[in-house]
Symmetry: C2
């Protein structure tokens, strides 16, 4: 089994998230479950993934409280289900999907269009939004130190302003 260096020791919300969902395949497993895949054999078929890798990934997601493993009506085949913590991953998946739509398009057009259930209208492209609800471009945003990061922050505070 491939061993990864854990990012769990890093006091960074992004690294903490990557420690949970940053292994390759994990986001594809989550994509499938958002689309209604529920059983081990269905993931295996949809992803063409080795059993042992799939099992480790699913167990990790259950341990993290992202998936719930429950017996199905038919008994022998457990089903996986997103918890609220798992549902909270949707903005990550959709941000990645929209980036791929834009920068790795299918020549025939958009692959999937995500719409609001109630209206059938396409959702907005994932972007940063100001307090007032305005779309912000990347250069209009900066990081400031919160109470959680004391002197552990490795960058100069001014560097957060970034000059990309």
């Amino acid at each position: 089994m491939m061993k990864y260096k854990s990012f769990d020791h890093m006091d960074c919300s992004l690294a903490q998230t990557l420690d949970v969902i940053g292994e390759r395949w994990t986001l594809l497993i989550l994509r499938d479950i958002f689309f209604g895949v529920k059983r081990f054999s269905q993931f295996e078929k949809s992803l063409d993934i080795a059993k042992n890798i799939l099992a480790v990934r699913l167990n990790r997601l259950v341990d993290e409280g992202i998936l719930l493993k429950q017996s199905s009506n038919e008994g022998s085949h457990p089903e996986y289900k997103l918890t609220d913590k798992g549902l909270d991953l949707q903005p990550i998946l959709l941000s990645m999907t929209h980036w791929g739509d834009k920068h790795k398009p299918n020549s025939k057009g958009q692959r999937l269009i995500f719409v609001e259930n109630r209206t059938g209208q396409p959702i907005r492209t994932m972007s940063v939004v100001s307090k007032e609800g305005k779309k912000l471009n990347p250069r209009e945003v900066k990081a400031t130190l919160g109470p959680g990061l004391s002197d552990t922050w490795p960058f100069e505070p001014t560097i957060c302003q970034s000059d990309f």
Copy 2:
């Protein structure tokens, strides 16, 4: 060198994105560059990452047009810079950061607070937004097939409605 199975053959915007940025470390490298890190030795120090892994990741990001490698004023130390394609990754990084803020918090409070440059006001938590600008929760969204996915889509169309 660890070899990964490529996701490049998958006609899925999420898999395409993961094929580019889904290797562990890559998003931490991108995080650092968003914070102003520019040089190889700075990434090495900030991330405590092996030289060969860092080099492969940086080269890949340059090849993909996400980073630009340019000579610095002082000559010998090239600097890495985000392109517009790279800047477009910001919603992914911030979605992950906000998930970590909520589900893997620091007990002393928020680590970093991202604000609008102009106003200093915190940005909204990354979420799906309707065409009209309303925050949508995960259950209010569904996928519909676009022109790019013909009969290659492996799921039943209705399954996109998802019953999570």
